[in-house]
């Protein structure tokens, strides 16, 4: 069965839709658009979809990825059009790539992401410079069972001030993961709105966008 990577946008209207609810919305989209999606076997059948990374609540994005499998072959452009016709406001497909050959899961490929944080005040320049000059910035991360200290400085690859706020490239994925809110908290920024610009995979030392990665992988 043919597999596809979809790049999608989570816009303003869908900002507060949880990851689980997005999954449900996409399932319904398949039915509305009469997309011949492959279902899992078994009692509680679900469409076969797997996401790159779950996006935090309240974050908009132009760089989300999901893999789906169809029961018949559709052209990339046809699939993109039909999905866009059926998607609710706030969600949209911005690119489709059919996979040739077996690929690792999207989730395992994610290494980094680029974000914008819009803030209602400007961060003093010294603060940012100060942050960048440090080798270690330790924060405490609480999970259900334990609290641990982590050094987030190596997880920040790039950070700069823009007129509307901050732009930063940080480690994301299953190996190393920095939550944007953790970074902003460390910078003492309280009121912000987050937007993810792109997800990145890695080829050797270089970070590349997923479709670019795919081109190289399929070469």
């Amino acid at each position: 069965m043919p597999k596809y990577w979809l790049k999608y946008v989570k816009g303003e209207e869908a900002r507060f839709i949880s990851h689980l609810d997005i999954l449900r919305a996409i399932e319904r989209t398949f039915r509305r658009g009469q997309i011949p999606v492959e279902y899992t076997k078994g009692f509680n059948k679900r469409p076969k979809v797997s996401f790159a990374t779950p996006l935090s609540l309240g974050v908009t994005s132009k760089g989300e990825y999901v893999e789906i499998a169809l029961t018949e072959e559709w052209s990339e452009i046809h699939l993109e059009d039909e999905l866009n016709k059926a998607l609710p406001i706030g969600l949209g497909i911005s690119g489709v790539r059919k996979l040739h050959g077996k690929m690792p899961t999207l989730g395992s490929l994610v290494k980094a992401a680029q974000y914008n944080a819009f803030t209602d005040f400007s961060l003093p320049k010294e603060k940012l410079v100060d942050f960048l000059q440090k080798r270690d910035v330790i924060i405490t991360r609480e999970s259900k069972r334990k609290t641990r200290e982590i050094n987030i400085r190596p997880l920040v690859y790039e950070i700069k001030q823009e007129n509307t706020g901050l732009s930063f490239l940080i480690a994301q994925g299953s190996e190393q993961n920095l939550r944007p809110a953790e970074l902003l908290l460390a910078l003492n920024v309280k009121n912000f709105q987050l937007h993810k610009k792109e997800t990145y995979f890695r080829i050797e030392e270089k970070l590349v966008a997923p479709f670019k990665w795919l081109e190289k992988a399929e070469m």
């Binding site: 507060f16 839709i17 399932e27 039915r31 309240g58 609710p88 009121n191 709105q193």
Partner: protein, 621 residues
Amino acid sequence: MKQLNDINYNQLLHEVEKPSRYTGSELNSVKKNWDEMNLNVLLAFPDIYEVAMSHLGFKILYHVINSQTKYWSQRVNMPWIDYEEKLMENNIPLSSLEEFRPLNEFDVIGFTLQYEMSYTNILRMLELGKVPVKTKDRSNQHPLVIAGGPCAFNPEPLNQFIDAFILGEGEEVTLEVLNVIEQGKKEGISKETLLENLVNVEGVYVPSLYKATDINGQFAGLNPVAEGIPTKINKRIVKDIDKSPFPQELVVPFMEIVHDRIMLEICRGCTRGCRFCQAGMLYRPVREKSMDVLVSQAEKLIRSTGYGEISLSSLSSADYSQINQLVEKLMEKHQQQNVGISLPSLRVDSFSIQLAEMVQQVRKTGLTFAPEAGTQRLRDVINKNVTEQNLINAVTEAFNSGWHKVKLYFMIGLPTETYKDLDGIVDLAFKVIKAYKDVHGKKGKLQVTVSTSSFVPKAHTPFQWLPQMSQKELASRQDYLKDKLRSKQITYNWHDTRISFIEAVFARGGRELSDVLYAAWEKGCKLDGWDNHFNYEKWMESFAEANVNPQKYAYGMWDVDAVLPWDHISSGVDKHYMQKEYKKAYKQLITEDCSFDKCSGCGICKNLGYDTKKVRRGDNA
């Protein structure tokens, strides 16, 4: 207006639970241009989002109003505590889902009245939306506040707050009412004149145009203040349900709601005639949609919503005359798309193996049965015409077809109920377990949920004259059941007796109850239907302040000839019939369902110009 991209508003949404309750933009929600509208209407559901969006009537009206190019209906719900607090802290008025428009800017606000315990939410929502809560404090500069739904059949507890009530089914009358309001707005008439114009629409009740009369200090009914105002207000119904507007594009929430599926109404009304059941009286006569219409509506709804489940809804789904064929047809058409079918409100007698097996092909949801009472004697009293054998047969068939979960609904505190009847409930529950054992040889996966609600006498039913059982007695009956229903397989749920008490007071309350409601709202009562927010002490203080004795309403044994607070409102069912049914209850005499047997003489056909026998088959157009 607040916009979603406003950074502070955004921050606020980050701090509340389930923010998508407040953000709108759901699939199929309607956006229009506010300034181009002749009327801007706000449909208000006085409960939280998940509940509101699960209500079919609310969705139908949204569709009906929005089908008019010059009217725009937006939606609003009762916020949960956390969001409500944020609104107050930041001085943000409660606003619509569609474009964050505050309540006080609308021309009309229409509340739906589904249960008495949502009344304080109505006042709270008006307050949060900066609308004066009392009718007398609102002019034509404020929104006109109207209300409809089953509780409108006893409107008096809300008379100080609602400008006009709509009785019965809203599909047609809502637009007639809006037309009158539109005309009034165009002419710039006063609110008083507008209300006088509204009573000319059949089915509209304007409380300010009626006044209580008394004879020797005894309540003698509510009567018009002037000539030309109808003395009795008749409910409205839709004559041809096949042609009545049914939304082809239901709003699909992002978040999970209570009934997260397509609700396809297959039939309206139920003539089984359970004597406690208000819906059974209010929604008469029975009208079935034809198969063809249903099949085509189902197809369009799957296409427009993408839902993977259709619930065939009605008060008694298995009574639909072609239920097997309908299920078969829908399965055949939509199984491929992985669409499941569910049947709510099954009666144990009309359940068949065939139906069970067909429905479970795709998805096996839990089965719910409502025997209502534990013994045949008591089931005869309430006219719940099913037998123990019916139930055992039905669950046996279900267990054979692979079901492991059964819910049983009962009512306690019914008239004439004794502990023997409670033993009957226990007995039934254990017989269900035995039936499972007989099928599977062990009890392993079986889960039986037994739920009891407490009897609340409701207006326009044969039991409207009867008292509710005392809280103390209800609680000890619940304790009795808790003790007896101890089993690994059984989960027992019961209702807070204090909530049932307040519900009974308002279900039979007159005009003076609106003072109590006002006092309760002032004390901050809200979300009373939610156990953890219900505040009994505040309610008791409110009764005292308003000088109203609640026991008179909940526990009063009323004379069948007494004038009732809702006598000026007609459901189309004759009072005489209800008196007859009441008397038959005490003799344990059954009244047959007129859809399948002889006419029981309820008066609905005569009063509304129907022939139920024909209507049942959908050809009374």
